[in-house]
């Protein structure tokens, strides 16, 4: 049955229509405003993509110029790195050896200690101790690396020299050791997160079988958290490879092809700092070397980051 309009409906309808169109116009402008805001926010989020593109562009464009002068084969296999000499050599292996050696030293400290601390905090430590230890570890990881570098050069090296007097003032060992301590919080916090994500029901199943805390931690919790722990290790590796200041200060900046931690050497990162401190004209081969070195570094850490990310996704999916 159709509605019978009350008397005076004509003016009401017109007014209603006026209100409706006003509301419609308001709605249109509101929608437009919302879309604009969303776009602005989207633009902010996509800055990260542009940063990546920027990094790739800068590194690749300068490296391309570099590789016009220096054949890639030489870059990869030459055993000398003397870019500023007349008879210049550009063997990245030299810098890589410093990076690899110092990273190995650092990881030999960070991985065992970081894992043990993670297991201890996750499965053994009383609640109060955890509440104190976790912030402390955060602080440990928050000390500026230049301070760690100073510490390595002027505190750790003299101590090591007391044990082994032939140790040179600049060496990869003390830098590596201090770097290792700095990386512990990275390894331990991600490993611990992975372990805490293991559901209590698994632990109860183990305890119900008569296992002790240690047995449960090592036989059930760690295997259950293994992909998260692996991603923590990989993050540690990535961090060690990318570290600059501790090595620039304590390992010296003399490029040298060596895998002996008792010697001084330059890492990829320390070399870039050394060049930046100097006065290389924009566009010279010397200037371009830092981008080629940076590209190598970037590729290295990219591989580790991708691996670490894939592993971390896996551990999140299992639970």
């Amino acid at each position: 049955m159709s509605a019978v309009a009350p008397s005076g409906s004509a003016s009401t309808t017109v007014m209603a229509q006026g209100l409706t169109s006003a509301r419609l116009a308001q709605r249109r402008s509101r929608i437009w405003r919302e879309k604009l805001i969303e776009f602005v926010l989207f633009a902010a989020a996509s800055v990260s993509v542009f940063v990546t593109i920027g990094i790739v562009y800068v590194l690749v464009s300068e490296s391309v110029q570099f590789f016009r002068h220096v054949p890639i084969w030489d870059f990869l296999t030459d055993t000398q790195w003397t870019p500023l000499f007349d008879d210049a050599h550009f063997g990245i292996m030299v810098l890589l050896s410093g990076t690899i050696t110092s990273s190995l030293v650092a990881l030999s400290v960070a991985i065992p200690l970081g894992t043990i601390i993670a297991i201890y905090l996750s499965e053994f430590a009383p609640f109060k101790l955890r509440e104190v230890a976790k912030p402390f570890l955060e602080l440990l990881g928050g000390v500026p690396t230049i301070v760690y570098g100073y510490f390595a050069l002027l505190f750790v090296t003299p101590i090591l020299q007391a044990i082994y007097p032939e140790l040179p003032g600049f060496n990869l060992l003390s830098a590596g050791l201090v770097m290792g301590i700095m990386i512990i919080p990275y390894v331990s916090s991600i490993s611990e997160d992975a372990m805490r994500a293991v559901p209590m029901s698994l632990r109860e199943g183990s305890y119900a079988m008569g296992a002790t805390r240690y047995q449960t931690a090592v036989k059930v919790v760690v295997p259950a958290a293994i992909s998260g722990i692996a991603s923590a290790y990989i993050l540690g590796i990535s961090r060690a490879v990318g570290e600059t200041m501790i090595l620039a200060v304590a390992a010296g900046m003399q490029p040298s092809l060596t895998f002996n931690p008792l010697e001084p050497a330059a890492t990829i990162t320390a070399y870039i700092v050394q060049v930046a401190l100097g006065d290389l004209p924009h566009g010279s081969v010397g200037y371009q070397t830092i981008f080629a070195a940076g590209l190598t570094l970037m590729l290295l850490t990219l591989v580790f980051n991708i691996l670490g990310h894939a592993l971390r996704k896996r551990f999140r999916e299992v639970y």
Partner: protein, 260 residues
């Protein structure tokens, strides 16, 4: 409550058991026998304390701070008080195994899951472990299905199979009592039926204590039943008596569905 007059062996005896979660008085002076090689079911509405009661038997409450036991649970033949502070919970758990509500296989192979309890007990002999694993899997009616893929990850099994794996795991160590905490509430009806069949078979080998919120399951599977309400043991008797002619009105009300 009087026990039935037949002289059936008693595996354990609960004497004046009370339990507190911090200040909350969760279990109130329970007294109950657990008959050897029989199935005893604990039933009652949600929150009545039946799981809490069950978990006293293997000292699970010790894993969490703030809990307190009073009274005894005596285990025969050696008359050990399971709740005594002098008795290590780990020792209790080596004698009494548990199967949980939600299957919780370890992230290991099927074989390693079942072998876990043996390894924890220091068993090194490979032949011995293999034998016991097979025995346990047979006992859990799982051997034929999985004997060719013992190295597969336990996660790849279906829910019902995972639960049977957990039962095998619990059986492998020859427990004196096997505790089941609502073992089929997370499973579909077919898997539930197979687990119930398994329990009926197992009781000839091991004493079983089972918590269930499903009355019909208790009626099907158990020899003795205890009805609990708000932390108290209202009635304990032979299953048939409880379900056909309960002695207390409260029990009757629950059984007939008048509440709960």
């Amino acid at each position: 409550m009087t026990a039935p007059e037949t002289a059936v062996a008693v595996k354990a005896e609960v004497r004046n058991l009370s339990f507190y979660y911090s200040d909350f008085h969760a279990l109130k002076t329970l007294n109950m026998p657990v008959h050897d090689k029989k199935v005893t079911a604990l039933i009652g509405p949600s929150g009545c304390g039946k799981s809490t009661f069950l978990r006293c038997f293997n000292r699970m409450h010790d894993l969490y701070p703030g809990n307190r036991y009073e009274g005894d649970i005596r285990l025969y033949p050696d008359d050990t008080n399971l709740l005594s502070k002098e008795v290590d919970p780990i020792e209790v758990r080596m004698r009494i195994s548990m199967v949980f509500q939600k299957p919780n296989p370890f992230p290991k192979s099927l074989y390693e899951n079942v072998a876990y309890g043996l390894r924890v007990r220091g068993e090194r002999n490979k032949r011995m472990i293999e034998e016991k694993v097979e025995q346990a899997l047979r006992g859990a009616a799982l051997w034929d299905e999985v004997k060719d893929r013992l190295d597969d990850l336990a996660f790849n099994l279906s829910g019902g199979q995972q639960q049977r794996l957990c039962i095998a795991r619990a059986l492998a160590t020859d427990p004196e009592i096997l505790l089941f905490d609502e073992p089929t509430s997370a499973l579909d009806p077919i898997a539930t039926a197979s687990i119930e069949e398994l329990i009926t078979d197992l009781k000839h080998k091991v004493t079983i204590l089972i918590v269930t919120h499903n009355m019909q399951q208790a009626a099907r599977v158990s020899d003795y039943t205890a009805y609990m309400y708000l932390g108290e043991l209202i009635e304990f008797d032979v299953t048939d008596t409880i379900f056909i002619k309960p002695k207390k009105k409260q029990t009757e009300d629950y059984i007939t569905g008048r509440f709960g």
